[in-house]
Symmetry: C2
């Protein structure tokens, strides 16, 4: 079986934890991200060379980096870059086209990268392939509760290990949700299993424009410019007469907002879900308290709230209001406030940096370079840079010199001098950089050579 | 008229804004602190040489620094250092003794340094001196509301511009508070006016032990070790038969907790009191939102709450629960958590530093040195230090060298090398210091010479 992982989303409902440039699938709570957990499930279904990740240019480095971190030799050609987001049907069509090109007719599982799911259902997913020739298969989760945040699937007649689908139903209100659960309806999980031949023939029938575009001979940029945005539910699954649902009875959540995150997280003895901070709360319960800063957080007489702290933004709201977070993000976007888009820690192909202080005249950054990675050969016109190595070993090119800096050593790079930094060691290299100059914007950079094609 | 400013308190009810080592009178909201506002009122009553500040050793530098900042030539001998806190009566007795020594019999105003008060009542305070020979004068504020957070004074018969006092009353419940306001009782402000002769004779009568200690010939450490803790209300005002209250009709608050801070602060159009952060709140009102970090804070559907963010701690509680903050501080003290005592920015006689990152192997500090101030001549056994000047000019002694560093220049000080830093310039000197070593604790310091007697 081949696997497609959909990793292009930019969740706004977990702001300020997630940002447009740091979506929730790459966030880490504990050792691994939701994306990495998804890869771990897929590796039970497919060889690493048979896993394709559909994402976008800016998230490519997360995919690469998090794959590398897991020790997988994941090839760049298995990362499919969408020029822009056009919904799930084009994304899946893109993935399936590439799989067919490479492997011919196949059975393909399609998995969002931002769900929580245990591995108990893997065998059921594997066995579902016997239905794939005759049906487009969608997976339905056996509900744990009458949840209003999910769409429901009404099963019809039994076919082998699944059911035909009577109806796809939008997110219901509480009363309807209760009825659906009583009647045995299933949560619409957004996971699919397709025989590529059936997928193509059904798409030709129900969304011929997409097939037309992808077969037009245009390049991928042109295709995405022309194609209409459409979801797979609307463009294919709800229209086809040959859809089957296979029940999965496992722990699953789409972690769609902080309230469902609260449901999934472990609670402490006060029934609070606490992560990333020291807790000094009193007489408070039912809260989700998350911090990306090591910080002491104290709630007093506060119940059922969301408190999310990041280095540059803080959110406080009742759990039941957490869907409104996206309105804040919209407001920030209208104001062109970058805190909707970036974190103070910015990820790069070679590692990441954190802005520790940002004044008009100087910046302080903590730079972390992954072992064996190299920054571009570059030059700044308006700023000089001081580097102090605080962990690991640096290889520095400065003008015509080339030398090593060890823990505790430092160097100074004057404005106008070409320089390059790399980590030749086995451990992450950490550097404190103090930038000074008349102008310290990120765009004062001239690149001469780059391992990541950014010249 | 002479003035005594009481500035020794260590408010816990405004944690995490105030800390034991950074009490509320020195906090700045806007341009000046409550202490500085108090000095500004006193300067309308007394010459700067006639103002005495009673404080403690660790707060002395705040007093000096904030006086200097206001441009006052405030003499060190006018700072009276209590070896330990023993309540208001010993503190005031200490101040009055020193005033009598220096100026002989005087009329003395006594003012807490942590209250908000406008200057409209200054003339009334000045005029009250005509009563001071015959009465111990306390000032009573005309209530704006039936506040439960203040003690009340019941006036009796009219004497000149005041009233004799029928009774001092403890903080009442809501119902009683309403009655008191209807009956014309006054808020007990904690401000006094004393003729030194009357003060001394009344104290001899009602708290003879204190007079005995102060006249014993012991030094101040010994006096404070022996003297019993006692408030001026309990030790003098409630016992004397010769007390008069003078009404002040002005805007006044003791800013005793975040709820009274909310009352005093200006509100935005959503009726939130916002300070120090950018606000991105929605459908939220009646909140006090304070930050010492420049941070975006977003409340959604949150009413009447306290949200206080500092670099190392965050408090969230309903305004009506804000008195419980002291319980959190007690818990922290029990855990020996230093966040009850210090801020991440630490004040020193020569300026201040902010801990920007604290790892086991290295520290990053931003150091600010006040013009013309010099740190001690020192040496560290276990850490080396990198200094990068990001603003101003530094004079550096390193081993036998002495040199200047300008904006953008840096130096490296190996462990074991004697060094000294000073600011010879006219503007604050800002340095980024990266400390590296096997041990980076504050106590790895040997001082050889110090302008502030810390060798």
């Amino acid at each position: 079986m081949k696997s497609i992982i959909l990793a292009g989303g930019s969740g706004t409902r977990l702001w300020p934890l997630s940002r447009e440039q740091y979506p929730k699938q790459f966030l880490k709570f504990g050792r691994s991200s939701l994306f990495q957990d998804t890869v771990r499930r897929c590796i039970q279904l497919s060889d690493i060379s048979e896993i394709f990740v559909v994402t976008n240019e800016s998230q490519k480095f997360f995919v690469q980096g998090q794959m590398e971190e897991m020790g997988f030799d994941f090839h760049l050609e298995n990362i499919l870059i969408e020029p822009e987001g056009k919904g799930t049907l084009p994304a899946i069509f893109f993935g399936i086209s590439e799989i067919v090109k490479k492997f011919g007719r196949s059975v393909v599982g399609v998995f969002p990268s931002d769900h929580i799911m245990d591995t108990s259902a893997i065998t059921t997913i594997q066995n579902a392939r016997e239905l794939a020739e005759d049906y487009l298969i969608t997976f339905g989760i056996v509900p744990k509760s009458p949840h209003c945040g999910y769409g429901y699937i009404k099963p019809d007649t039994s076919v082998k290990m699944g059911f035909t689908v009577a109806e796809f139903i939008e997110k219901p209100d509480e009363e309807l949700a209760k009825k659906y659960v009583e009647k045995g309806y299933l949560w619409n999980s957004g996971m699919f299993l397709f025989d590529t031949d059936r997928f193509l023939s059904e798409t030709i029938e129900h969304s011929p424009d997409i097939v037309h575009e992808f077969r037009s001979g245009k390049n991928i940029d042109e295709i995405y410019r022309s194609v209409q945005p459409i979801s797979i539910d609307y463009g294919l699954m709800e229209k086809s007469q040959n859809v089957a649902v296979v029940e999965l009875n496992c722990n699953w959540s789409d972690v769609g907002n902080f309230d469902s995150m609260f449901e999934e997280f472990e609670k402490d003895e006060q029934n609070n879900a606490v992560f990333g901070n020291e807790d000094a709360s009193m007489n408070s319960s039912g809260n989700i308290i998350l911090s990306m800063d090591p910080k002491l957080i104290s709630l007093i007489d506060v119940d059922n709230m969301v408190v999310v702290n990041t280095p540059d933004a803080l959110l406080v709201c009742p759990r039941e209001s957490c869907e409104k977070v996206k309105d804040v993000v919209n407001t920030l976007n209208e104001r062109q406030d970058e805190r909707a888009i970036f974190h103070r820690t910015v990820y790069r192909p070679w590692g990441f940096y954190t802005l520790m202080e940002n004044s008009e005249r100087y910046l302080i950054k903590k730079i972390t370079v992954i072992p064996n990675k190299t920054l571009s050969l570059q030059l700044h016109h308006h700023r000089s840079e001081h580097w102090v190595v605080v962990s690991g070993t640096a290889c520095v090119m400065k003008g015509k010199e080339k030398f090593f800096l060890h823990n505790g050593e430092s160097t100074f790079i004057k404005s106008g001098v070409k320089h390059r930094l790399s980590n030749p060691g086995k451990f992450p290299l950490e550097i404190i950089e103090v930038q000074l100059g008349e102008y310290v914007g990120e765009d004062d950079i001239i690149r001469f050579d780059d391992d990541y094609g950014r010249v």
